[in-house]
C-alpha cells in the first residue's frame, strides 16, 4: 500500500506497546480457556494428541459436543450417539476448527459472526495449506498455529468493532505498519497479549506475534521458527492465485519461501486446487450456535468469588497465592490483590455507612505505565491504565492520602475518575530496586493498622514487583520485535532505493547507447523510404522508424521513472491547477483518451497545497487518462478535494469496471498493466506514485470489481506563512 527513493511514506513512529494497555483493558475479562483445550494444544505440538484428549474437550462444553455430533451426522448421513463416535467419523481438523471457534473466537465475537467470517475464512485457508505442507512438524499443530496466528486481528475487531475495518480500508492496506500508524499498536502485539491472557502454548504465542518478522530475523534456536516460516509461506501462497504465482517476480519469492519450509514449489498448484473442496467441507461447521450459547461457568475467573464472599485473611491469602502463576498477567495480579484486600477488610474493619460498597484498588507501575485494577464486579471497567512518571521513590509513610500519591505518579488528572470523588488512602509498595512498584488504595473508612494486614501486604509487594518486572520485560521484548520489523522495512526501503538508483544509471546508459543505433536504424530507414516507390515498401520503412521511436521512448520513460526530477515545491492553488489540467485534458489532440466530462468539487478551505505544480499536473493528467480509459469515455469522472488532518486529499473517481484484488495489489508495480498487450507500458501509476511521494504526499487506490475506482492523493497543505 508501498511503498520509492524520496523518503516516501512516513515510517511509523516509535512503537508504544504501552498503548496496548488501553486495548487490553477491554480484553482482560475474557474467559480463560478450558484446561482440556490447553492440554490438547500442548499435546498437538508434542505430536501426542489422542482421541481421549479431544473427548475431554467435548465433555467440557455441551455446545461443542452437540456441534461435533451434528457435524458427524452430516459426514456419515446418520445419527451419531457419542462423542467418541463423532470424533471417529470426522477429520481431525474439523474438530480443531470447531474448538478454536468456540473458545477463542466466539467470546470475542458476541453476535457479530458475519464481521468475523472473512477473517475466519482466510485463517482456515492458511491453516489448510500449512497442514498440507507441515512435513516433519505435527500437522495438527501447523493447522492450529496457522488458524490462531491472526487472533490479534480478531482482538482489534473486538476492541474497535466499527472502526478497525474502516481505518484499514481508508489506509488502503492491512499490515502491522498501517495499524501502527493509525492505532500506535498492531495486531501482533495485541495478539500476544491475548495469547498471554489465555496462556496459549509458547509455539502458538510465537506464531501470533512473530509471523510478520523477516525470516532472517527469526532466532534459529527458537523451536517454533520453522512453524512461523510455514505460516508465512501459507499466507503468501493463499493470497495469490496459481496464475499470479507463475509470474517471474512471485515465482522467485515462492521458490525461496518454499525452500525454507521444505515444500516443492511444483506441488503448490495442486495444493491450491484442492483448497476450495477442503474449505467448503470445513465451512459445514455451523458457527452460529457455537457463538450464541453461553460459555460454561467453570471457565470463569477463579477469583470472582473472592470479591463477593467475605473470608478470613488466611483464606484470602491462600486464594491469592493459588491464583498467582508465572504466566499470570499484571491486570490479573492487581485484580487478585484488590479482591484479597477487599475480602480481608470486610472482616477486619467494620465499614462505615456505604463504605462496604466501595471497591479496593491495587495498582502497579510497569515502566511508564500505571495499571490499576478494582475489586469491583467484572465488566465495570475494573482495569484501567495511565502514562506515569518513572523512577519514583516511594513515600516513607505506611498510609497517606491516595490523591497525594496518584498526583505524584500521574501527570494529568485522569486518575480522579477512578476514585469517583470518594476519599481513599494509599499504601505505597516499594520494589526490590527501592523504587515505587505500586500500591493499594483503600476507602478511608476501612483503613487498618499495618500489623493487621502485614502478611497480605508482603505477598502483594512481592507479586506486584515481580509481575511488573516481567511486564516491563515483555514491553521491551515487544518493542524490540517491532524495532526489528521496522529495521527490516528500512532495509527493504534502502534496497529498493539502491535498486532504483541502479536502474537509473542503467537507464541513463541505455538511453545513450540505445539511441545511437536507433538513430542509425531510423535515419537509414527514412532515407531508404525516400528512394522507394512502392507504397507497401514505404509503409514497411515507416514502420521501422515508428518502432525505433517507441523503443527510444521506453528508454526515456525508464530513465524518468528511475531518476525523477527533484520537485520544486511551491504554493499551488489547487482549484486553478485542477481546472487547468481538466481543460487541457479535454482539449488535447487525439488519440489520447478523453473523459466525457469531469465534475470538480473543491471544498472552500483546501485551496492551497505545497508541491511541485508541474509534477502534480502530470499526475492528475495521468489519472484522468486512466479514468477515461476505465469509463470508456462514456461516463462522467469526478475530482473531489477536501481536508484530511492537516493535509489536502484529492480524489479522482471513475465509474468504470473497477479492479479485482489481484489487479489492485499490482496497480503500482512498474510495467504492470491490465490493458491489452501494446496499450500502455504500465509505468504511469508507478511514476505518479513516485512523484507524489517525492512531494511528501501519499497515494492509494480504493476499488472493487464492478464498483468503479477511486485514486486518492494526499498532499501537505500550504501553511499560511508559505509564500507563492
Amino acid at each position: 500500500m508501498a511503498d520509492c527513493t524520496q523518503m516516501p511514506q512516513p515510517l511509523p513512529g516509535v512503537p508504544t506497546s504501552r498503548q496496548l494497555d488501553l486495548l487490553v483493558e477491554q480484553l482482560a475479562m475474557l474467559p480463560p480457556l478450558p484446561a482440556p483445550f490447553l492440554r490438547a494444544l500442548n499435546r498437538c505440538w508434542e505430536g501426542e494428541l489422542s482421541l481421549e484428549d479431544l473427548q475431554l474437550c467435548l465433555e467440557a462444553d455441551p455446545a461443542v459436543s452437540a456441534a461435533m455430533r451434528s457435524l458427524a451426522n452430516e459426514f456419515i448421513g446418520q445419527s451419531v450417539d457419542s462423542d467418541v463416535q463423532a470424533l471417529a467419523q470426522t477429520p481431525l481438523h474439523h474438530c480443531l476448527a470447531l474448538l478454536v471457534w468456540r473458545w477463542v473466537y466466539a467470546p470475542l465475537i458476541g453476535s457479530r459472526v458475519e464481521s468475523y467470517r472473512p477473517l475466519w475464512r482466510q485463517s482456515l485457508r492458511q491453516a489448510l495449506l500449512a497442514e498440507q505442507a507441515a512435513g516433519e512438524l505435527p500437522a495438527c499443530s501447523a493447522f492450529l498455529a496457522s488458524l490462531l496466528h491472526d487472533v490479534g486481528r480478531a482482538g482489534l475487531l473486538h476492541c474497535l468493532p466499527k472502526a478497525y475495518d474502516r481505518l484499514l480500508r481508508s489506509a488502503g492496506a492491512s499490515s502491522p505498519q498501517v495499524e501502527m500508524q493509525l492505532l500506535a499498536t498492531d495486531h501482533l502485539l495485541l495478539g500476544r497479549r491475548l495469547a498471554m491472557h489465555w496462556q496459549l502454548p509458547s509455539y502458538i504465542q510465537d506464531c501470533i506475534w512473530l509471523h510478520h518478522q523477516p525470516p532472517e530475523a527469526l532466532p534459529q534456536e527458537l523451536a517454533s521458527t520453522r512453524l512461523i516460516k510455514l505460516i508465512q509461506w501459507a499466507r503468501f501462497v493463499s493470497s495469490h492465485s496459481v496464475a499470479e504465482l507463475a509470474q517471474v517476480r512471485l515465482q522467485a519469492k515462492l521458490e525461496q519461501m518454499s525452500q525454507a519450509v521444505g515444500v516443492a514449489p511444483q506441488a503448490v498448484p495442486a495444493m491450491l486446487a484442492d483448497l476450495p473442496i477442503q474449505l467448503s467441507s470445513l465451512e459445514m461447521i455451523d458457527l452460529a450456535p457455537l457463538t450464541d450459547r453461553p460459555m460454561p461457568r467453570p471457565a470463569r475467573k477463579g477469583n470472582d468469588a473472592l470479591a463477593t464472599t467475605p473470608a478470613a485473611q488466611p483464606g484470602a491469602l491462600t486464594a491469592l497465592t493459588a491464583s498467582l502463576r508465572p504466566e499470570t498477567s499484571l491486570p490479573e495480579v492487581c485484580r487478585g490483590i484488590a479482591q484479597a484486600f477487599a475480602s480481608t477488610l470486610a472482616i477486619e474493619s467494620a465499614p462505615a455507612d456505604g463504605a462496604g460498597d466501595q471497591p479496593c484498588f491495587a495498582f502497579a507501575l510497569a515502566g511508564s505505565t500505571c495499571l490499576a485494577a478494582s475489586s469491583g464486579p467484572v465488566g465495570s471497567r475494573c482495569v484501567r491504565s495511565w502514562q506515569c512518571r518513572t523512577h519514583v521513590r516511594p513515600p516513607e509513610q505506611y498510609l497517606l492520602p491516595a490523591d497525594e500519591v496518584l498526583a505524584r505518579l500521574i501527570q494529568d488528572q485522569s486518575w480522579k475518575e477512578l476514585l469517583s470523588g470518594i476519599e481513599y488512602d494509599c499504601i505505597p509498595l516499594a520494589g526490590s530496586d527501592g523504587r515505587m512498584s505500586g500500591g493499594i488504595l483503600l476507602p478511608r473508612q476501612r483503613s487498618v493498622p499495618r500489623e493487621t494486614i502485614a502478611p497480605l501486604l508482603d505477598l502483594a509487594r512481592f507479586a506486584i514487583s515481580s509481575c511488573a518486572d516481567r511486564a516491563e520485560a515483555d514491553h521491551l521484548a515487544e518493542e524490540s520485535a517491532a524495532a526489528t520489523r521496522r529495521l527490516a522495512q528500512v532495509q527493504q526501503f534502502l534496497a529498493e532505493a539502491q535498486a532504483l538508483a541502479s536502474v537509473g544509471e542503467m537507464a541513463a546508459g541505455a538511453a545513450h547507447e540505445m539511441n545511437n543505433p536507433l538513430t542509425v536504424i531510423s535515419g537509414r530507414a527514412q532515407l531508404l523510404a525516400r528512394r522507394l516507390t512502392e507504397p507497401k515498401d514505404r509503409q514497411d520503412m515507416e514502420l521501422i522508424v515508428r518502432k525505433a521511436d517507441e523503443l527510444s521512448e521506453l528508454a526515456t520513460q525508464l530513465l524518468s521513472f528511475a531518476q525523477p526530477q527533484d520537485p520544486k515545491p511551491q504554493v499551488v492553488s489547487l482549484p486553478e491547477l485542477l481546472t487547468q489540467t481538466v481543460q487541457e485534458a479535454a482539449n488535447q489532440a487525439q488519440p489520447k483518451p478523453r473523459c466525457q466530462s469531469v465534475d470538480i468539487d473543491i471544498q472552500p478551505d483546501c485551496g492551497r497545497v505545497r508541491c511541485d505544480a508541474q509534477q502534480l499536473h502530470d499526475v492528475v493528467q495521468e489519472l484522468l487518462v486512466n479514468a477515461a480509459i476505465a469509463s470508456k469515455g462514456r461516463a462522467a469522472v469526478q475530482i473531489r478535494a477536501d481536508n484530511a488532518d492537516g493535509a489536502v486529499r484529492v480524489q479522482v473517481i471513475d465509474n468504470g469496471p473497477g479492479m479485482n484484488s489481484a489487479t489492485l495489489a499490482m496497480a503500482f508495480v512498474p510495467f504492470f498493466s491490465s490493458r491489452p498487450a501494446g496499450r500502455g507500458r504500465g509505468l504511469g501509476l508507478s511514476q505518479a506514485l513516485r512523484k507524489i511521494q517525492a512531494n511528501g504526499g501519499r497515494m492509494w487506490i480504493e476499488s472493487q470489481s464492478g464498483a468503479g475506482t477511486t485514486v486518492i492523493i494526499e498532499l501537505p497543505k500550504a501553511e499560511p506563512e508559505d509564500r507563492q
Binding site: A511, N516, V520, G523
Partner: protein, 192 residues
C-alpha cells in the same frame, strides 16, 4: 548574383545565371531532356531541382563555383561513425549543404576554425569532452560567434538541456530524429 544558398528548385533564368549560359540554351537543354526537371502543374513554367542542375553542370564540365559557394557549411560532430555517415549521405544528397565531420571535441574545435561552418551539429556525449564545453569554447572565439550550434543527443535530462542552452547552444533535438525535421531546423537556424 542572387542568393541561391538555400534553394532546392531553380527557374530556367536562375539556372542560366548559375551556369553562365543564356536562358534560351537552358530551355533548349530542358526540352531535349539533357537537363531534367518538371513543369509547374497547370502551367508551362519549367523548374529544375538542385541535384539535377548539379548533375547537368558536372556532365558538361561547367564550373560548380556559383552553386557550391552558395551551400550551407555544416560540421557534423559525433563519435559514432554510422551516424556521421548517415548525416553525410542525407545532407549531401540534399545538395544544399557542404559537410565536414569530426569525431571528438578536440577535432571539432580544429575543424571549426579551419572550415568556419555556418552550423555545427553536435553530439552531447563525446569521448573526450562534453558538448557543453565545446559550446562554451566556441562561444568564446570571436571568429566563430556567428556559427549556430544544434545539439543532437540521446540524453534527455531536462536540466542537462538547460545547461547546454545556457552554454551557448541554439537548439536541442533528441535522437532518434526525423531527418526532414533536422534539415529544416538547420536551414531555419542558419537563415534566422
Amino acid at each position: 548574383m542572387s542568393d541561391h544558398r538555400h534553394k532546392t528548385v531553380f527557374t530556367t533564368g536562375e539556372a542560366a545565371e548559375i551556369c553562365g549560359l543564356s536562358q534560351q540554351t537552358i530551355i533548349r537543354c530542358f526540352d531535349s531532356g539533357q537537363l531534367s526537371g518538371f513543369r509547374v502543374p497547370a502551367s508551362r513554367f519549367r523548374r529544375i531541382p538542385r541535384d539535377k542542375l548539379l548533375k547537368f553542370m558536372k556532365e558538361h564540365r561547367i564550373p560548380l563555383d556559383a552553386l557550391e559557394s552558395d551551400r550551407v557549411k555544416v560540421l557534423v560532430v559525433d563519435d559514432d561513425p554510422d551516424i556521421i555517415e548517415m548525416f553525410v549521405d542525407a545532407l549531401t544528397k540534399d545538395g544544399r549543404f557542404e559537410v565536414r565531420t569530426a569525431r571528438t571535441g578536440f577535432d571539432a574545435g580544429v575543424e571549426a576554425n579551419r572550415f568556419r561552418p555556418d552550423i555545427m551539429i553536435l553530439d552531447y556525449m563525446l569521448p573526450d569532452i562534453n558538448g557543453n564545453v565545446v559550446c562554451k569554447t566556441i562561444r568564446e572565439s570571436e571568429e566563430l560567434q556567428q556559427m549556430r550550434i544544434l545539439i543532437i543527443s540521446g540524453v534527455i535530462n531536462k536540466s542537462e538541456i538547460d545547461t547546454l542552452l545556457q552554454a551557448g547552444a541554439d537548439d536541442f533535438i533528441k535522437k532518434p530524429f526525423n531527418i526532414s525535421t533536422v534539415v529544416d531546423r538547420i536551414v531555419e537556424l542558419v537563415q534566422g
